[in-house]
């Protein structure tokens, strides 16, 4: 397990990557359209639903799925489970990409993207009561923190390159980074704790407009727990696919252990969720005949499914089963967040929202960009461990 991560190598623009690049190109056209034509012309957003797909999916779900770095970081650095260390770098890469995508989405979603710089720089105007300000500042800084955390991977590659100024820089910077990373890693764990919980706090303010099955003073805690579960699931998902695809040794042992760690998190989430509902006396609403109740039970079923799938320790070593559990868990978190931000948000009765074609295509394009970015970085830089048995056979 302690073997060094290695660049996968090989051509980047394989056929599937070209497909995703094409999807991104379509998304890029839509992005230009949105920037020139404005939000009203390109999105299905309205005064009834001011926040739509980009916030609910790209930001709220996207950053939670990008919490792999956070979740594994907690495990490795705080709970000192060193054996999961090889999972860290790919997890941080997915996190960095995910947060970058979220940042782009926010840029597109706000009305005046060209003055987004005012948020971090207008310190004297900061409204310290605003949960969104905290989220915005946290996400902005965390994006930088993630890329810095990932920088050793780039520096290592450069340090091995041909003799040049860049190489000398890389060689000099690496040890400095090594020391500085302690402080950066602390931030890398603090910031998600803050903003993932605050993503929940955001909707606490919408209280009267949120369905009581979702509105809760415990939203911050629920969001924090759900992001950790989603982060683990995303790591399992990503690792399974990448080892498989790049012909690396499967990390099933590690993933099995990881999924074991997920059980208490998921269980905790369910206990918290039902406990909160019972405590607030809103549990009965879950048994009402309504689409809210339906959405609620879909969410609960998807959360409970991995618990069932992963309960027997032996089944955690079945990669297919692991993968299914991870998918279910990611989906559960996504549905929970979607429900909170869109389904349960009912400002009044006669209000409708479904993302418009440009909204969908931009989100699809950005996810495609993330995939292309992942493949390219993994092939060029030492991210993934578990080099193939026939070392460097691929090239």
């Amino acid at each position: 397990m302690s073997e060094r991560a290695q660049a996968v190598g090989g051509p980047i623009f394989t056929r599937p990557v070209r497909l995703f690049a094409a999807l991104f190109a379509v998304g890029l056209l839509m992005i230009l359209w949105r920037l020139f034509a404005g939000l009203g012309a390109t999105t299905a957003l309205s005064d009834g639903y001011p926040w739509g797909l980009w916030i609910a999916f790209d930001v709220v779900v996207g950053t939670a799925l990008a919490c792999g770095g956070y979740a594994v970081g907690l495990l490795v650095y705080i709970l000192n489970r060193g054996r999961y260390h090889p999972l860290i770098r790919p997890a941080i890469l997915t996190s960095a990409l995910g947060y970058t995508i979220a940042g782009i989405s926010v840029f597109l979603d706000i009305g005046k993207p060209w003055i987004i710089w005012k948020v971090p720089l207008f310190v004297w105007s900061w409204n310290l009561n605003s949960a969104l300000l905290e989220v915005a500042l946290c996400i902005m800084s965390y994006m930088f923190v993630l890329w810095i955390e990932l920088s050793p991977a780039f520096l290592e590659k450069l340090a091995e390159g041909p003799e040049s100024g860049v190489k000398r820089f890389a060689q000099k910077t690496l040890p400095v980074m090594d020391k500085a990373l302690l402080w950066i890693m602390g931030l890398g764990l603090l910031l998600p704790t803050m903003h993932q919980s605050s993503l929940g706090s955001l909707m606490v303010l919408s209280g009267p407009k949120l369905h009581p099955l979702w509105w809760s003073p415990f939203l911050p805690l629920l969001f924090l727990v759900s992001c950790i579960a989603m982060g683990y699931a995303a790591v399992v998902f990503e690792s399974t696919l990448s080892t498989r695809f790049f012909g690396r040794r499967p990390e099933t042992e590690m993933l099995a252990g990881l999924s074991g760690a997920m059980l208490p998190v998921l269980g905790g989430f369910l206990v918290l969720r039902f406990g909160d509902l019972a405590f607030r006396g809103k549990l009965a609403l879950a048994f009402a005949f309504s689409r809210f109740a339906l959405a609620f039970w879909i969410e609960i079923a998807l959360t409970a499914l991995p618990l069932v799938l992963l309960a027997p320790a032996a089944r955690r070593r079945d990669p297919g089963n692991l993968f299914r559990a991870a998918m279910s868990m990611m989906l559960a978190g996504a549905v929970y967040r979607f429900n909170t931000y869109l389904v349960a948000y009912r400002p009044f009765d006669d209000v409708h929202y479904f993302p418009s074609v440009p909204e969908l295509l931009i989100t699809l394009g950005l996810v495609s960009l993330e995939i292309v970015g992942y493949v390219a970085i993994v092939k060029l830089f030492p991210i993934i461990g578990g080099a193939p048995e026939r070392a460097t056979a691929h090239s």
């Binding site: 397990m1 404005g38 060193g82 260390h85 770098r89 005046k112 980074m177 302690l182 602390g186 603090l190």
Partner: protein, 316 residues
């Protein structure tokens, strides 16, 4: 490892408990309406639906009429408050048509608004010397629309058709007030003609009047006492959602007029209590950061037995 884990859980628990305890013990200080807080009083029984207020609002705020909904574009027909419309007269009719009422919608100028707690840079804010009006500063608005998500009355509207959009909502004609002296006449605080809220100035039946919140409450109570049985026995906005500066008297139940049923607690109370509980003086995040760094540092010194001895501390 065991020690670490326990330590971490303990600390997290302690931090959480402290936050919650702090939150409950030190409940947030609720803002109250200043004595000079200005507002409107709308009375459904007096409104004749002439829409003079809608037209006056357009003129006072120089908003452009919305002709898109009318055939041939010959009428100004906003369907609701929107990026060009700060007030509108709606019509409520019960299914059998027996019960009906007009309803004037505009910003409620909450005593403790959700929007001002949502806004990142304070574009929406109660600024000193503005009589408690929730005023808007476009230069500080980046168009995030969190105020729209937050407002329980769905008042702030976004300029969807613009490519440099901001938020539009009633600001009680604060731009007309500048330099005008407030005088007291007939029991109400008044600006010189042409300087007060446009809608209230033109109303032919005093269905919407302006004054300080206290004056308006007194007037509402006077009207209720004068005509027993005429009104629903409640002044909407006296306590609802922590109180609003714009108040309503109605002869039909307020929920029929789609005024939300709110508790008497200010809408932002819960969120602000949580957030300020956690982030009071930023102590908890700093402490957590210190703790996390310390644990990471300690773990790097003592790598777990299961991991390779030569492993780098960096996320490699």
């Amino acid at each position: 490892m065991q020690v670490n884990r326990r330590l971490v859980f303990k600390t997290f628990a302690a931090a959480g408990a402290a936050a919650v305890a702090k939150g409950t013990a030190e409940a947030r200080v609720r803002p109250t309406a200043a004595p000079d807080a200005m507002g409107l009083l709308y009375d459904t029984t007096r409104c004749i639906g002439c829409k003079a207020c809608v037209v006056a609002c357009r003129q006072a705020n120089d908003t452009k009429p919305e002709t898109g909904n009318s055939p041939g574009g010959i009428w100004d027909t906003p369907m609701d408050l929107d990026g060009d419309t700060k007030t509108v007269i709606r019509l409520y009719k019960s299914a059998d048509g027996a019960q009906w009422s007009y309803f004037k919608a505009q910003c409620m100028q909450c005593v403790d608004p959700a929007c001002t707690n949502a806004c990142m840079l304070g574009a929406l804010k109660k600024r000193p010397g503005e009589h408690g009006i929730v005023s808007y500063d476009a230069s500080k608005c980046i168009g995030c629309r969190y105020c729209q998500m937050a407002c329980p009355f769905n008042i702030p509207k976004f300029q969807w058709t613009s490519n440099w959009p901001g938020i539009v909502k009633c600001e009680l004609c604060r731009h007309r007030v500048q330099g005008a002296a407030l005088t007291k006449s007939g029991g109400f605080s008044h600006y010189p003609a042409g300087h007060g809220p446009g809608c209230a100035e033109v109303c032919p039946r005093q269905a919407v009047i302006y004054g300080t919140r206290e004056e308006l409450l007194a007037e509402a109570k006077r009207r209720m006492a004068e005509s027993p049985g005429r009104y629903v026995d409640k002044i909407y906005g006296e306590f609802d959602g922590g109180g609003t500066q714009c108040l309503y008297l109605s002869h039909v139940p307020f929920d029929k007029l789609r005024l939300p049923t709110l508790s008497n607690d200010p809408v932002p109370d819960v969120q602000q209590t949580i957030q300020h509980g956690i982030y009071q003086g930023f102590v908890a995040p700093v402490a957590l950061y210190g703790l996390l760094t310390a644990v990471i540092w300690k773990n790097r010194k003592n790598p777990p037995p299961s991991s390779g001895a030569g492993e780098k501390g960096a996320p490699s």
